[in-house]
């Protein structure tokens, strides 16, 4: 059977599974809708959290990003996993003890202020909406590039599927679907990786293959061979490529860690387990399930760039015969050229492909002697590394079909989690918490379902008409989560001194400073041409890359909250009691 038919069958089967789960796990109460009744086993919650967390970006794009960054790509690996330590030690158990439904609800109660709750809702909506746009785009890419269907059709189908299980089942339906989605994702990610690792290094586990020796040269380690290959082509060595520089790698890693811990759709997953001790462990289970993919990704990255470089450069650099003739390139390159994600340009007209670093003066001098006229790999989209993996490893078509289903599962599972965070903050925080406190539980459940539908429609619209800044939104979402929500959540638990004035001003300072800093370099509201300063080290304030500003925003948030709280009235006694109550699993006060 051809790839397209197989992919359609694979994706179709997964959709049948999701719908079946939706019908079986309908939510009957607001508690079931918001937090799955608080009865999810910690291992199951860990698996659902992993699917919720690992987005289209993790599944489809991350390995490609690391392949081109080399060592410094570790910023994403450490940043997107290290946040779970912060969440498990500093937030999850206490928020679970608090025992309510949403993140803004905790902020509103702890800081005894509906204003604080409303500001938290604004932060949550900005974080989750920017993030959901990227997921919708991921669904579209998976549909158009693998299934060869129009993006619009893919988006509409994806939206209908999410609508069925998220509107019917709320958190309960989403949780059980996410468990199924995790299994599909991890299988689809690991199978091609294991085959490539076996082929290249004779080692089945990619985590060991990356540190292993080459199958055809048992005396040479894969990583040192890769270092040599890339250096010969004028790039830096893979294992110590300076990439973004140590300073910005540090800031980016820390920002992603804090941002991860502050993402409301992930935090709320820890409201679904029965006990506080479960919340502590569940973060660990989540990280195990995430690590199964995150420790394979760097292996895929290194192996893919090694395969790719050595496919194009078939012998010693500079030997005219050692560059792959354009018309002899492998079939998968032809296929991806058709999608426009891979572009070669024969700049020197010799019919062969030269891939090298044409920004390196030493390399350019040599290339001039050889008659090379610039790097002929004009575009290599990050997404190809994972999507083309089965073809690169010459695996049967059903593996490629599985990767398609996995990419869609990754995007849908994250989108569903985000949509739930959005709809519950609208129905529970805005409607019940602020505007209609007397609303009945039944009416609130209906309102939650309606706001879920509206959120899906908005996300779908934004997916169809992407605002042109889809690539930058991830930096923005993590920056905002790090600078606005994480600090006040942490201070709300760890300090009794922080009062409502401190929390509100802290959140606003963190939110606004981070937005302004990103807009300065990426354009105001991401409108092209409105950048105030050049987005390179010459323009960055104190050399800080906008993607790594989240940690600075968080520091400003902490500082502001402390100073303002010190100058205003202390927190009331009953709030100090609330904090003490949250700190202890079985309260004595």
């Amino acid at each position: 059977m051809d790839l397209q038919t197989l992919s359609l069958i694979a994706v179709g089967l997964t959709f049948v599974v999701y719908i079946a789960i939706a019908i079986w796990s309908r939510a009957g109460s607001t508690e079931e809708f918001y937090v799955a009744g608080g009865g999810i086993h910690p291992v199951a919650n860990g698996m659902a959290t992993a699917a919720d967390w690992m987005s289209a970006a993790s599944f489809i794009s991350m390995a490609g990003i690391i392949a081109f960054l080399g060592y410094t790509g570790g910023a994403y690996l450490m940043g997107w996993t290290g946040g779970y330590v912060l969440m498990a030690l500093l937030l999850a158990p206490y928020l679970r003890k608090f025992g309510k439904f949403t993140v803004p609800e905790f902020i509103g109660d702890r800081f005894y202020s509906t204003t604080a709750r409303a500001v938290a809702v604004i932060c949550l909506l900005m974080i989750s909406l920017t993030y959901v746009i990227g997921q919708m785009r991921g669904v579209g890419i998976a549909f158009s590039n693998i299934l060869n269907l129009p993006i619009e059709l893919g988006l509409v189908v994806g939206m209908v599927i999410v609508a069925v299980y998220a509107v019917l089942g709320g958190m309960k339906g989403i949780t059980y679907t996410q468990i199924a989605q995790y299994v599909i994702m991890i299988f689809a990610y690991s199978v091609p990786a294991i085959f490539i690792s076996l082929h290249l290094t004779d080692t089945a586990l990619p985590q060991f293959g990356l540190g292993g020796t080459l199958a055809d040269r048992p005396d040479t380690h894969l990583l040192s061979a890769l270092d040599q290959t890339l250096q010969d082509l004028g790039f830096g060595a893979y294992t110590d490529r300076p990439g973004m520089g140590m300073y910005n790698m540090f800031l980016l890693t820390l920002s992603l860690m804090i941002g991860t811990a502050g993402l409301p759709h992930v935090i709320v997953r820890f409201f679904t387990v029965p006990k506080i001790s479960d919340a502590r462990k569940s973060a660990g289970y989540a990280l195990i399930f995430i690590a199964l993919l995150y420790t394979v990704a760097p292996a895929i990255a290194a192996m893919a760039i090694y395969n790719f470089s050595n496919t194009i450069q078939t012998g010693p650099v500079g030997d005219p015969e050692a560059n792959l003739p354009y018309d002899q390139k492998p079939a998968w390159m032809d296929r991806w050229e058709n999608t426009g994600l891979l572009i070669f340009e024969d700049k020197n007209g010799d019919g062969r492909i030269q891939y090298y670093n044409d920004k390196n003066p030493d390399m350019v001098a040599k290339a001039d002697e050889w008659g090379w006229k610039g790097n002929e790999l004009v575009k290599f989209d990050n997404d190809i590394m994972v999507l083309a993996n089965p073809e690169i490893a010459a695996l049967p078509n059903w593996v490629a079909a599985l990767v398609a289903a996995g990419g869609i599962a990754a995007a849908l599972s994250t989108a569903a989690g985000l949509l739930l965070a959005i709809s519950s903050s609208v129905s529970h925080d805005l409607l019940k918490g602020i505007f209609m406190p007397k609303i009945s539980p039944k009416a609130e459940l209906t309102a939650a379902r309606i706001s879920m539908l509206v959120a899906i429609a908005i996300a779908g619209y934004l997916g169809l008409n992407p605002p042109g800044f889809a690539a930058q939104v991830v930096a923005l979402a993590f920056g905002l989560a790090a600078s606005s929500l994480f600090p006040v959540l942490m201070m709300g638990i760890f300090s009794k001194r922080i009062n409502k004035e401190g929390a509100i001003s802290g959140m606003l300072v963190g939110l606004i400073s981070t937005m302004v800093y990103i807009f300065l370099y990426k354009g105001w509201f991401f409108i092209p041409g409105t950048e105030t300063l050049p987005d390179d080290p010459s323009g960055w304030l104190l050399g800080i890359n906008p993607s790594g500003f989240g940690v600075i925003g968080a520091l400003l948030n902490f500082l502001t909250a402390y100073v303002v709280s010190g100058m205003t009235k202390p927190t009331p006694v009953e709030i100090q009691k609330l904090v003490e109550n949250v700190r202890v699993p079985r309260a004595q006060v």
Binding site: I66, Y71, G73, G74, A75, L77, M78, T81, G82, Y84, V85, L86, A88, L89, L90, P93, Q207, F208, L210, G211, G212, T213, H221, L222, L223, S224, T239, D240, M246, M249, F250, T253, L254, M257, K275, I276, S277, R280, K281, A283, G284, L287, I288, A291, Y294, T295, P298, E580, R583, V584, P585, R586, A587, Q588, V589
Partner: protein, 87 residues
């Protein structure tokens, strides 16, 4: 009441006493070994992995997992010691 209050304070400071060393290790393996000390550590090899590179792309993640389970285990013990564990 006051005895209970003291218990709560004691429980909390013991909790902080577990959190802080965990976070120190958390920072040491990632921001430390994975970034700041990586150039030095890369002289040492773990199989084919330069050590700093290994921490940045593999090792830190494994330590994170161990830290979370270690914290959960210590806190469950602390909950029982102070008789504040859930039924």
């Amino acid at each position: 009441m006051s005895a209970q209050k003291k218990d709560v304070g004691e429980y909390w400071s013991r909790n902080i006493g577990i959190i802080v060393p965990c976070l120190v290790i958390w920072a040491l393996v990632s921001l430390g070994a994975g970034i700041l000390f990586a150039p030095m550590l890369n002289g040492i090899h773990l199989g084919g992995y330069p050590l700093g590179f290994w921490f940045a792309q593999q090792g830190a993640i494994y330590v994170f997992i161990l830290l979370i389970f270690y914290y959960a285990w210590r806190m469950n013990g602390l909950d029982r010691e102070f008789d504040v564990n859930e039924e």
